[in-house]
């Protein structure tokens, strides 16, 4: 459903992606993991057509996303829900209006039908009672669930989650993990979860890509990865401070620097 071929993308002189290829399987949860700053958010923006690759192609539903006309791109985006790291709720609208917004803009449903759809989406994330709150009145976990409801508003075929677990308390975390799993199963979505939270992501992902410094350093099912004999994969999956990825940012010798005066 989504396939990435030989993608290269740079910011300034830095290659964020160096000739990577990925295959996202339909109706499964695919996780893309890697340390902060590897370009996970950038990858989602490339898939959504907000950034253009230097070379390589991204096919979504067999359409090459960067060759599409603006109109065709917008049509395709209606089938693509995206959950931003910050939630990205519109701050001058209530929760209800935030979810109704894409429906009002893209469909000709009547007021009462919109109401039904919005309440269904809110119910799916367990926040039907929060419909009259403003985004500023929501906790971080609630905001993310509302953003999820909004991403589902147009009944997309695929959904992209950017760091859904970061900065959540243990209860919200459990709720979000469960939600992503159940939504994927009940709605037959194709899900991409971008994250650096190993445990949570591994518990729901069907397939994981591990990224580091512009390359894919490991891939497979969660079980395969935990069995992997790559040191890098082991360090990341088990969260060790030092290993192939050094604890220290490249620097001169410490003792020399201390006594340099």
């Amino acid at each position: 459903m989504i396939s990435i071929r030989n993608l290269t993308f740079s910011r300034g002189n830095r290659k964020i992606f160096d000739n990577i290829s990925m295959q996202i399987m339909p109706h499964k949860i695919t996780a893309i993991m890697g340390p902060s700053g590897t370009g996970k958010t950038t990858l989602l923006k490339l898939i959504g057509g907000q950034l253009k690759p230097d070379s390589g192609t991204i096919l979504v539903n067999d359409q090459e996303i960067h060759q599409l006309s603006r109109r065709a791109l917008y049509e395709l985006r209606k089938k693509m829900g995206m959950l931003f790291q910050s939630g990205a709720l519109l701050s001058d609208m209530s929760v209800y209006d935030n979810i109704a917004f894409p429906i009002r803009e893209h469909t000709k449903l009547t007021k009462s039908m919109i109401r039904t759809v919005v309440l269904m989406k809110l119910n799916a994330v367990g926040l039907r009672g929060a419909r009259d709150l403003m985004p500023s009145e929501l906790s971080g976990g609630m905001a993310r669930r509302i953003a999820m409801a909004r991403a589902l508003a147009l009944d997309p075929e695929m959904i992209l989650y950017d760091e859904p677990f970061t900065g959540q308390d243990p209860i919200s975390l459990a709720v979000l993990v469960k939600l992503i799993k159940t939504l994927n199963q009940t709605l037959h979505l194709t899900s991409i979860v971008v994250s650096h939270d190993v445990e949570e992501t591994a518990s729901i992902a069907d397939y994981i890509y591990l990224m580091s410094e512009g390359k894919i350093v490991g891939q497979g099912s969660p079980e395969e990865l935990t069995q992997s004999d790559s040191e890098w994969v082991q360090q990341f999956m088990q969260g060790q401070a030092d290993g192939p990825v050094p604890f220290h940012y490249p620097a001169d010798d410490f003792s020399e620097e201390l006594f340099a005066l």
């Binding site: 990205a88 701050s91 894409p102």
Partner: protein, 260 residues
Amino acid sequence: MIIFFQHIGQACLKSIEKLGRASLFFIAIISSIGYVLLRPNLLIKQLFSVGVLTFWLIAISGLFVGMVLGLQGVYTLSTFGAESSLGIMVAASLVRELGPVVGALLFAGRAGSALTAEIGLMKATEQLSGMEMMAIDPLKYIIAPRFFAGFISLPLLVAIFSAMGIIGGYLAGVELLHVDSGAYWSQMQASIDFDADIVNGMIKSIIFAWLVSWIALFEGYDAVPTSAGISRATTRTVVNSSFAILIFDFLLTALMFGVA
């Protein structure tokens, strides 16, 4: 030395590039006019926050500027024994110059900076990106209504500024310093020319409205999406709008009244 020229060259290229982006931005706004006309409630909401909320600032400033003009006018004119011409002096300076210029400067400070900060913050919190991913064009939905609201409000606010100024001049000159009330109004009526004064003043205010709304929205849209970036963009809006207003005022005045 070569490095110095390199820097100048780079700065020039950067500004030309920015002007190019700003022009494309403006074309996108103009081509969204149909979208805005189909959704009048978006425009009305912005007319309220851009226009109505600036009303009191404009009205009160206009009144005081007019009162100062009244006091200074009587002081200057009385040396020639020409106090009776106070009405012309007050009205002409307001309608031709002070109304459009001071009105636009106040508007840039109040509404322009607020627009930049609002758009910049929406960018920083990914609200604009989020909208794009929902297949809704933020240029149409967010930017265009704000632009047209600014474009419509400022000329009206300028008219209010001038009207309040004329009342202020009356209060100071006639009520306080006892210039003849009949002379104040009748001389004004006889000498202010509709085309030369009022229409020209309106043209100025329309051009300033375009400049300020465009600069404010573009700076917000182009802001580096961090708190420091937004604060710099807001400052740039006020500074660049003020320069643009004063430079264009000179050019327009030269075209309208001066250099034949």
